[in-house]
Symmetry: C2
Subunit: 210 residues, 2 copies
């Protein structure tokens, strides 16, 4: 095994370190967050830090990097309280990656990257029309992380749209039967193939494959 | 698209809701967290909430559910400050899933699920010997999440061990060339296959495939 101590990591060239440390948490979700400001200007940005926080109430979080430069997604969420989280597919991956470019505040990534928006059921923020898993959220809390000046942005799920064929009888979502991608690090996208689904683990029972 | 409003979600049967909402964030990392208490009793538990927080300093977080029942991992981290995060592979997946069973405090999941531990370089907590990506962390901060009484546990990377063949020239880790798995929801494990790697996005440049 190749070993890196904390001192080794601290001494790495900045981009090498960012590439490597962004990979070590393992596989990531890849989502597009859609927002709209009070003047109707839309924004769309790729995030690989969306995380499940709880199901009752249904809460999702994501990590917002330091807001020392313009962060349009964050500004729009703070001022309007509504945003959407949309799963990225193979078909969307290159356009989704391109949303990370530093467009100006008066440019919408929906336009610049040719990703079609969708409004429905009177929800304020724009969804990504072609995503098979679209979530409409309301801001619940913003939690500062002093260790590196990031923030955990917490939203409650108010609207959930999912391709019907992905919903299993017990509520499980068969995302592996869609073209939804996962990610590694900063720039790598993955196809998914089901390995195994296991039964609920109990101390003295053998797991079943579902 | 099948639509669930917040009211629909709140009215779902508890297990159905947990299955579904655990799936909506997208693809998850799957890691085993290894700890040891002050009496030398080891613990190993599967987590699908490990997340990248920053690379300088190198910080990882994970979500700790409410500590109303015994949570051995959390107790050990609080009392000893050291823990390990180890990527789960296809070969480890059934044993890793089994660590979620409610073993007693005096039972070690390393023993009960036949996962071999490893100690090295004087690090206090046990690693998972067969994992191709092992991380030794020191507790940095514990951040309460009032919205649902969970906690964000933050650790700084002090030791990182990685199979040498997975490290690309620029620091990127080719986890897709290992048997490391991703996850969906509570119980489903995924094989990974590289879809694309893209160049850094800039406003007026076409992405290159790397």
């Amino acid at each position: 095994m190749k070993r890196f101590t904390l001192a080794d990591i601290d001494n790495l060239e900045r981009r090498y370190r960012a590439q490597m440390i962004n990979c070590i948490s393992g596989i990531k979700s890849v989502n597009l967050i859609g927002t709209k400001d009070k003047n109707g200007q839309t924004n769309l940005a790729i995030f690989n830090s969306v995380i499940h926080l709880g199901s009752n109430p249904p809460l999702l979080g994501y990590i917002q990097r330091p807001t020392t430069v313009e962060r349009h997604t964050y500004e729009n969420i703070v001022s309007t309280e509504y945003y959407t989280i949309n799963a990225v597919t193979e078909e969307l991956s290159s356009q989704a990656h391109q949303t990370a470019a530093r467009y100006e505040k008066n440019e919408s990534e929906f336009v610049e990257t040719s990703i079609e928006s969708e409004y429905k059921d009177n929800f304020f923020a724009p969804f990504v029309k072609s995503s098979p898993l679209q979530i409409g959220l309301k801001l619940e809390d913003i939690i500062p992380i002093p260790a590196n000046n990031t923030k955990l942005i917490i939203g409650k799920v108010h609207e959930l749209y999912i391709q019907p064929n992905l919903v299993a009888d017990d509520g499980h979502l068969k995302l592996d039967e869609s073209t939804i991608v996962g990610g590694i690090g900063l720039d790598t996208y993955l196809n998914l193939k089901k390995h195994e689904r296991y039964s609920y683990a109990k101390p003295d029972e053998t797991l079943k494959k579902l």
